[in-house]
Symmetry: D2
Subunit: 364 residues, 4 copies
């Protein structure tokens, strides 16, 4: 057990604060022989990297990943082979502006974890948000890049499907579009609306929430577990552990409350290959905690960041009532950069269950 680890056989432990020398993670349990490369990991980190459009924080971090252990050189120049021992990944912190933290050290931002860290620990690294900074999520993305290599044939992709109260048009959903706009938006027309919406949010120093959708295809039927290690329960925990996430759903999710049993039941026929074929996917690819072989579909809600320019009433560590506003570089919509993070967290859950399933059953 550990407060800074997740997964069982494929297990990730992260460390580091926003303004320390570096952040990093240890990925333990990677099957020996798994093919990796620094570039492979860097590619996903680059997707999460801030400062790539005017819609994310202008903090400039190269987020260059260093692989410190757990691999041997592979066949090509860049290829690495996992040896099965722990893979340590490290990312140096570069753009920590030296500034005066004395004020935010003692004033609690409303809606931020400043105050609860102090409630829990009585001491906290307040510089740039310390451990609670979204910066920590870079290590998740790096770990997720390894997780993707563990399960043969799995493909995990994410999209932003709602910003504020503007949801995408499902009829126009096109995965290829998600890489063509700065929002991971699968529908170009909605992307245009979001650009306007976010420009307005940004100009008034405000922030706004969002909903992210992750889809995993090629997940072998049978992964998961019936009760407390349910694949959906682990996905839910992994996604809920991302900063600012307030809700998680699988398949039809909350909408399934309004369905009848007839509507909700995904009917089954025998496919051309003789295997069961589902005629719909209200279940989001998971029944009884176990993968059906259909695409796994998860969504999560990201609240607006508490870093805003409008002063809000608060208190300081001495109990004085103060007004707090957050200057500096911030994301108007943290949901955007949550897309690659959500992908990574789903990838890690699936990799872990792949190994656990193989362990107990000897299959796959």
């Amino acid at each position: 057990m550990s407060h800074n680890s997740f997964g069982h056989l494929f297990r990730v432990t992260t460390w580091g604060e926003s303004h320390g020398p570096a952040i990093g993670c240890i990925v333990d349990g990677t099957p020996p022989g798994t093919r990796l490369s620094r570039e492979l990991i860097q590619r996903f980190l680059d997707e999460r990297r801030p400062g790539q459009s005017r819609y994310t924080t202008q903090r400039q971090e190269p987020d260059e990943v260093h692989i410190l252990s757990g691999t041997m050189p592979g066949e090509s120049e860049s290829e690495l082979i996992a040896t099965g021992t722990p893979i340590a990944l490290e990312i140096r912190n570069v753009d920590q502006r030296s500034k005066d933290y004395s004020e935010i050290a003692r004033r609690y931002r409303p809606g931020h974890a400043d105050i609860t860290y102090d409630m829990k620990y009585g001491v906290r690294d307040y510089r740039g948000g310390g451990r609670s900074s979204a910066r920590e999520t870079a290590t998740r993305v790096a770990a997720g890049a390894i997780a993707r290599q563990v399960v043969p044939g799995v493909r995990i992709q994410g999209a932003l499907v709602q910003i504020g109260d503007v949801a995408i048009d499902r009829a126009r959903f096109d995965w290829d579009e998600t890489r063509r706009n700065p929002f991971f938006c699968p529908d170009p027309r909605t992307a245009e609306h979001w650009a306007e919406l976010l420009d307005a949010v940004r100009k008034r120093g405000s922030s706004i929430g969002a909903v992210v959708e992750i889809e995993a295809t090629g997940v072998p039927a049978g992964l998961g577990a019936p009760l407390y290690g349910k694949l959906d329960a682990d996905i839910a925990a992994n996604l809920m552990s991302i900063n600012a996430v307030k809700g998680v759903e699988i398949g039809d999710g909350f909408a399934s409350a309004a369905l009848s049993g007839e509507e909700n039941a995904d009917e089954i026929r025998t496919g051309a290959d003789g295997r069961p074929e589902f005629l719909s996917n209200h279940a989001g690819g998971i029944l009884g905690g176990i993968a059906t072989g259909q695409p796994i579909v998860a969504r999560f809600a990201v609240k607006p960041t508490s870093s805003i320019l409008t002063p809000r009433r608060s208190v300081d560590a001495d109990g004085n009532e103060v007004d707090v506003m957050t200057k500096g570089r911030h994301d108007p919509c943290v949901g955007i950069r949550a897309v690659p993070i959500g992908e990574a967290m789903v990838a890690c859950a699936i990799a872990d269950h792949y190994l656990r399933h193989r362990g107990q059953t000897g299959r796959v």
Copy 2:
């Protein structure tokens, strides 16, 4: 790690199938000296027990709990004192009708875990749903009764807030009402609508989904952990592990996607006792994975049960295409009985974090 356990310091392991001799659980980590009684546990089991109204399955199970270990007699006749060693709880299965299971043994109910158990294990106890039966949840409720005794001053209550597309009227929310109707409904007027709605559902042999809300008050500020052992992540996993649950949210949940940072930030003042006082609770009592001291609010969506009288297309274990309908005694809305189960799962998460927090920090 275990597929049939949850929690770390307060840890519950469950066992048993619907039609075996018994079901049960082991509760490990209860603080020595915790006051318990058989009646205390039974009271919560009685709330979950089926057959108490025409809106739940007519299966008749007394669900009498037996305490087999881990306690010593207390001061009064019924009082028991936890010794700190594992508490084994057992509930005999009584109303397993002997019947011919040969048909359902091989035909997969659409929307049910029959097929995924076979995909995972290749063998399964099909009698009454076996391990996937909601019957297992009785053991969670029993464990939850012990969990409630672990944290001094905590109070956990639940309500059904939506059936189908009929949600309660928030302006009329009254916790006292939840015990006065067969739906745990906090609003008597909505309860009447639900009665009509469910009578119709029941008559046509259908089923319908629902949303449950759980509130925990008196949770000490500081419980939780910043990253992967987040209190909300553990609550999410615990709730998602309940049969038929497809979504979980904390505080404003999915609605927070539509909020601005100004709206979402719970402002803080200094209360009469000199401690921080939040002016709203969009966060649902958790910031950065750590309890703020405000009420913790969680909601979860329950899909309609797949046990319906209308035939649905499916396949059998040999790949033959068949039509499947489920005769027998079933719940038209499994969300109703999910209320005490949800309460129990939240109670267990809080008890576990209480011990973990005390372990690391020495506080509370």
Copy 3:
């Protein structure tokens, strides 16, 4: 994590006190399809059962095991097939003599865990030793019987190799002999000496220590892990967790301190099958925490039980100085019955590592 569980993928959780209604365990993670039977488990329990000779306690417990979950009927009448869900095993307590415990409730037996339970918990089930009674080990033996079925081709056997200062003659070691005397002694001549020795010990109401040796053959090369999940570290923990065990060694163990590197190195040649063949086994079948494929050899030391007729100086719970002697039925040498328990604990460690190795590497 749990104080009453061990193993990761093959995980055993036990519960129960000596004088409660029953004791039991949950075995989680058994591969689906594993062939079991009640008789198979009972056979090992019978080996551990007390009262089978005058050298073990005369307490009469049938130790009949009940399988409450996790299996389906197999092909023959007695055969059971594990479904992959938790297997709950239960053994009723039968021979708890009703007697007055008021004295031992408050007086600490020197060398016994009475006092440390009170130090830890402040409350304890003193009846018959409660949770600290060797009775709990019956559940380990039952779990071990299942573990043996998990790894194809593995064979685990144990022998008593020393009582007091009388060790066996290694030159006469014969596994077949271990079932022909009441001591699991592999050397009939030593068994005769032990009979005399133990008769004397028993007559003066004393007790004596012993050393047990466990050998596991057929363990696939590669099981284990390099650092903290070392196969030998897990075997050591499992054996050290048995009541009264004070030392554990692998292969040459403490004797290897006196060896030179030349003597200790097990040389390797290529065997007839083209695979590496070790010419000796100082390592006891484990190098760097990983199985070599040779027999795994572990030994553990069992201290003499503290239940003796000679009064010893002690204190009671109020701090009064008292003399304590233990009347009643006790084992003069608890090491004898530790043999099947040690076998079971080694079996569980190997089964767990078999599943863990398969999980990470996909091999075996």
Copy 4:
């Protein structure tokens, strides 16, 4: 669960190979407010550092520790305060001589883990022993330095008590002596014998085994757990996980096999402070898995290293029979440097149980 972690609430995860850029560990669960410093950790690393006498390997590693996360500046210049978040420690590898590894890459050293790593993983970092190198133990020592700060008043010290067949004279045991000779020997006369013995071993390119003893005083009574989380079982696992360790014992250990119950029972009186006082310590400070408050005494046997100059018969990865000898810088007696490592592993076990005990019981 993880193959590269140990502990539950005080949890250490290590990474790194002998000849990679660095090695390191993450220490998770340190109580917030724990006082640390780089110097404090470095002091223990310096004790383990090779090349300090002619009796250890001449590899020159400064073993400078870097603290990358989890602390804030304290009151003095060097003081650091743990924040409760994970502490990442890193040690750069400096003295990796560039050399041709092609030979040892494929030839298995008898008595070494080369062959079992290949059996398990099929791929391995052979450079300098890779993950199986004793170099990894530096990270344990660093983690142990933090563990020592967790339990108020605890003191952990170690001594070498046997090299080859030369044991210390118990009558001359003096802890102060252990820092006055290059062997951590508590008896100066024996230290002289060992100097001669080891010079001879070293000159003939051989190696020899040893026994280490660790004593922990000031451990609060009540730490530990009755069955599978026994304090002695965790200490045994922690010590057995150190490279080359083949046996572990607590208190009288294997010698207790030869004792009678009368001899073994540590009698109890009431001390001057009104608390129980034990008159002897055969138990080594642990009864029933729980600390008695007496000094905890553990010993472990270290086999001779397999790196010797005398050629031994072996095979290579292709199955060819070869002769193998190990040139280069090696320890004639790895038991010497195992002393600070053993101390650290015991410290970590105690720190973990301190937090676990406080979590469950609210005491200490």
